[in-house]
Symmetry: C2
Subunit: 223 residues, 2 copies
């Protein structure tokens, strides 16, 4: 009856966001372990390396449909494949980036994205000084060319690094070109249609957490 015995029976159907956020960390560790020639790893070892609890690791990995082996742990090879399948499900996601300022340029130069299935196919800017050049080997086009290039390259994801004033306008352009997800690095609260996903990266949020955590720790009676 069960044609996939190596898939955990109880592997939960809906993956949870805290788990999703940890998957890249597992992936990085596993790739490192593989390069060291290791074949198996236990949830205990993973937990130690990533400062998590073993039970969290086991629950997370259950979502990827993996089966660990008693006394051995998980097959590193299999884990890498199944995590990559979860994160990187559509192969290389074609993305457009708008706003080649400091942060936009930094993202264009970030080598890690391809590992996670993201391919920034083109960059756009309003500034005449910045267009028709390349930044980190990525072509920068004037914003007007977005529809034309979108028709050719079919981007899924739009990475938004423009100033707040133009953010909503640029998003609407992206959405009308068929982009299905907006990765928003501006601090503008954007409105997108219901079928478009909006992922806000708020640096200030991380900073606020850090500040308050420092405060808490300094006041904590015992560590």
């Amino acid at each position: 009856m069960d044609s996939f015995p190596e898939i955990a029976k109880n592997s939960e159907t809906i993956i949870r966001m805290p788990t999703v956020r940890r998957l890249p960390r597992y992936l990085r560790l596993l790739i490192e372990l593989k390069s060291e020639g290791k074949d198996f790893v236990s949830s205990e070892k993973i937990a130690q390396a990533l400062d998590l609890k073993p039970i969290v690791v086991r629950k997370d990995l259950a979502f990827t449909g993996n089966c660990g082996k008693p006394r051995l742990g998980y097959s590193i090879e299999h884990l890498i494949i199944s995590i990559e399948n979860v994160i990187n499900f559509r192969g290389k996601d074609t993305a457009f980036l708008a706003g080649v300022g400091n942060l936009g340029s930094a993202l264009l130069g970030y080598k890690g994205f391809e590992k996670y299935g993201l391919n920034i196919a083109a960059a756009f800017d309003l500034d005449k000084e910045k267009v028709n050049k390349t930044v980190h080997n990525k072509d920068v086009y004037p914003l007007e060319m977005l529809p034309v290039l979108a028709a050719r390259l079919h981007p899924y994801i739009g990475i938004l690094c423009v100033p707040e004033e133009s953010a909503q306008e640029v998003v609407e352009k992206m959405v009308s070109c068929g982009i299905k997800g907006i990765w928003n690095f501006s601090n503008k609260e954007l409105k997108v249609p219901a079928d478009v996903v909006l992922q806000n990266e708020d640096l200030a949020a991380g900073l606020a957490v850090l500040s308050i955590s420092i405060d808490k720790k300094s006041k904590a009676p015992v560590q």
Copy 2:
């Protein structure tokens, strides 16, 4: 008996992290509303602007020790002050930044940090080409000078933008100089002493969430 009637009696003592992450969003909105000349705002209005539910807003704001007025909502002025008090509690937090690559430079140029109480006092790099220059008006020093400058400037926060290979080494240098919080933009899993706070900013986590959310939405039966 109650000497602070304007402070909510039930204002919870321990603030929660999801709330902390939303505070900068409230703050940005409130500052905008104030600049428009508004005096009061309701949780309903805030929720609409930030795509939250009113009840979430009310619970979050309760943590800041604020009191809303029936039929009017919250005093924008008071809210701004109390949120700033929570986030920005030590005045301007002095920070050091290490690694003046693409991302490090982008962060040095980010104007928003001062709003949240962060002052990047100095930047450091190992690369001889990069040191003894300024990037976005911030001085870049050789890494060896970190202890000397730390003794003078007493940084609380270390912002880490160095390559993975040198991340642990740089962190240890920072920690030994008395830095109490590490804001880690490298993808290295760092070890820090128990009294130091580590805040990891993992771009891949955001990307994974975005990818999977797009997938979910495209499969969702009805929106």
